[in-house]
């Protein structure tokens, strides 16, 4: 049967288009609409309230605290994951016996669901029967209350996130390192560069576009941090309430759909702005070097 190109065109694009409109564009537009209403999960007629929800957000002290918590979480998690991941990648770069086994084991944390990981770590870090504190007890050391001490709760979540996502950084850094042509290292050795100079002036700049990409992906992901908070402390803990946790609390515990929609748009805006800054930076590096890294 002969199908006209014009028909075929829509046949290929159509399903994706319908999916995009149904699950992305319509919900986004509907979300924007809801953010200007006082819609509630309990039902009832939603009334248009103008920008009132946005006013509520900026008056809400919880919002400021959650913003700080999220910011702190993102900066610390991404920074530590970057340094550890890049370090691991440098260590794993050369050939050694058992390399593939070691690399596979290191990737395991990344492959598990964050919600499941949160529950596991709940057991591991439990103040009474957790394996960590039992080990500390055997060694005669101080046993911190990882999950209940207000000063430690965020740190515990950070540690879990770092444990989970360092392998991701390592994986991307490893790809970046492997993409550096070996003859550049030979040239650098012949040019009498010290190991530190080679790292600083060859390895790091050539790897940096991919590292920035990894940082971008991790940052946008960490900004939305929700699963670990939910699993470890619950969404309404003052010291660990991230923006997403606050959003969940408002929307699904407080039933305030309108206000929650406004919260979600604020988070979305934040992510878009940050992502754009990163993407522009990566693009500027690539334009200069003329390389296709990402």
């Amino acid at each position: 049967m002969h199908v006209k190109d014009g028909v075929l065109k829509y046949g290929f694009v159509g399903p994706a288009l319908i999916f995009l409109i149904a699950f992305n564009i319509f919900p986004l537009l509907y979300n924007i609409y809801l953010s200007f209403t006082d819609a509630e999960l309990s039902g009832g007629l939603a009334r248009f309230v103008g920008g009132r929800n946005y006013g509520v957000i900026f008056d809400d002290t919880r919002y400021g605290v959650a913003l700080c918590t999220t910011g702190l979480f993102v900066v610390l998690a991404v920074a530590v994951e970057l340094v550890l991941g890049f370090g691991l990648a440098l260590a794993l770069r050369g050939p050694f016996w058992g390399k593939s086994v070691v690399t596979t084991i290191l990737l395991v944390p990344m492959m598990l669901s964050p919600a499941v990981m949160g529950l596991y770590w709940n057991f591991i870090l439990n103040g009474h029967y957790g394996v960590v504190n039992q080990a500390l007890a055997v060694l005669g050391l101080f046993q911190p209350q990882w999950l209940t001490d207000p000063d430690l709760k965020l740190l515990s979540i950070l540690m879990i996130d770092i444990w989970m996502w360092t392998p991701f950084m390592m994986l991307i850094a490893l790809a970046g390192l492997n993409a550096i042509p070996p003859h550049l290292y030979e040239a650098a050795a012949l040019d009498r560069a010290s190991n530190w100079t080679v790292f600083r002036r060859v390895t790091l700049p050539l790897c940096s576009p991919l590292l920035f990409l990894a940082v971008l992906l991790r940052t946008t992901d960490a900004l939305k941090q929700f699963d670990l908070v939910m699993a470890v402390t619950g969404p309404n803990d003052r010291t660990t309430q991230t923006l997403s946790a606050l959003l969940y609390q408002v929307m699904f515990r407080g039933y305030k759909i309108g206000l929650g929609s406004a919260y979600s748009l604020v988070i979305l805006l934040l992510v878009i702005v940050l992502a754009n800054v990163f993407i522009r930076y990566i693009a500027s590096i690539q334009a200069k070097q003329g390389r296709d890294v990402a």
């Binding site: 042509p181 003859h183 550049l184 030979e186 040239a187 650098a188 050795a189 012949l190 040019d191 009498r192 560069a193 010290s194 100079t197 002036r201 060859v202 700049p205 050539l206 200069k288 070097q289 003329g290 390389r291």
Partner: protein, 384 residues
């Protein structure tokens, strides 16, 4: 003829500047890339390592640079045993076939890099880059990134980077291999001029015999990880040590004819299918069989001589290579002009330029001594 053999010079210090002693490289997979190389290079000499791919020439160069660790043997550079030293502790400048420029640095930064590593002051770096860039004609390109440059310009930058530090020895690994014909000739002349001007020792690797002959003070022809012959380009060209060199050097290679050696009434003669060639070579013991080698340019059309029929002509403007079917076999002749295919002609072989090889070992039996001191026989070709 330039022949910088040590033995011919009287010197205070008989030590060569660079010496390879029984140099060997066997890779972990068992490949024996280099099987014992002995070579002594004088200061200021331009040495070309020539051979087909896989002959061990690049591995040899990389061992001199310190990029490969020799399995056996020694490398002595400027009275210092550098055999197992890392590249940074040898004073060598290396030019890679594929440029190996740092893609994230401008041409200027690339050239400055080796100087920065040895702590040269910024003002000295600028002055040196200015000088080298002018010599290479790349002043206008200094602020460009490698990917913005053509292959030829990238290789200029790469040459500049190898030159700025004025190393003890330049090592060049087929630097012109990837360039187009025009840039290749231009850069080839530049490399030679620059090396002569600075009289820096240079080792240059190529598989292009024409490039080798045009650049070298001394050529080293390699095959199968071993040196086949070392000598000045005319020595290699006119007196190949064996059949491999005879065939590999020269384009087209030497005509090689398998035949019998017979005692002629007035000397040694080579004969095949009734055609005879006189040979002004004196052998103590003449073997019954031999392979005769003669270059295309020492075969000329003549009124008398070996009869033949033109089977193919390759016209190249300034001259033509004419393939002629003769009793001696198909011979390639360097002729001033074209011949019609099928034309019957006679060929005269310049017997003063004939080489003889042992058909079993492939080694040269004896070399006719070259044009100057060869006694030419009155009658060159006799027919029956």
């Amino acid at each position: 003829m330039v022949s910088p053999h040590r033995a011919t010079h009287k010197r205070e210090t008989p030590m060569p500047f660079l010496e390879l002693q029984n140099l060997q490289k066997t890779y972990p997979d068992g490949t024996r890339a280099v099987r014992g190389i002995d070579l002594a290079v004088d200061e200021g000499e331009f040495i070309v390592l020539l051979g087909p791919s896989g002959c061990g020439k690049t591995t040899t160069l990389r061992m001199i640079a310190g990029l490969e660790d020799p399995t056996d043997g020694q490398i002595v550079l400027g009275n210092r045993n550098v055999t197992h030293l890392p590249p940074s502790q040898r004073d060598v400048g290396f030019v890679f076939q594929f440029y190996a420029l740092y893609p994230h640095m401008t041409a200027k930064k690339n050239i400055a890099f080796p100087l920065e590593n040895i702590g040269t002051s910024p003002s000295d770096i600028d002055a040196t880059i200015d000088r080298v860039a002018r010599a290479l004609g790349i002043e206008a390109l200094l602020d460009q990134y490698p990917r913005q440059l053509s292959g030829g310009d990238q290789q200029r930058v790469s040459l500049a980077r190898a030159m700025v530090r004025t190393p003890d020895v330049y090592l060049m690994d087929e630097p012109l291999g990837t360039l187009d014909a025009e840039h290749r000739l231009e850069l080839r002349a530049f490399i030679r001029r620059q090396q002569l001007a600075l009289s820096t020792t240079a080792i240059y690797v190529t598989h292009d015999q024409e490039e080798a002959m045009s650049l070298a003070d001394r050529m080293v022809v390699m095959e199968g990880g071993k040196i086949k012959q070392t000598g000045s380009p005319p020595e290699i060209y006119n007196h190949p040590a064996d059949l491999f060199v005879a065939n590999f050097v020269g384009s087209p290679g030497m005509n090689l004819i398998d035949g019998q050696i017979v005692q002629h009434e007035d000397g040694l003669a080579f004969t095949r299918l009734g055609a005879n060639v006189h040979i002004p070579i004196h052998l103590r013991v003449a073997p019954p069989r031999a392979i005769l080698g003669i270059r295309p340019e020492f075969i000329r059309p003549a009124n008398r001589g070996v009869p033949g029929k033109v089977v193919l002509g390759e016209y190249l403007g300034s001259h033509a290579y004419v393939h002629v079917d003769t009793p001696l076999g198909e011979l390639v002749m360097h002729a001033p002009d074209r011949f019609a295919i099928g034309e019957s002609i006679h060929l005269r072989l310049d017997e003063g330029r004939v080489c003889l090889f042992d058909p079993d070992t492939g080694m040269a039996l004896a070399r006719s001594a070259g044009m100057k001191d060869v006694k030419l026989y009155g009658r060159s070709i006799s027919q029956n």
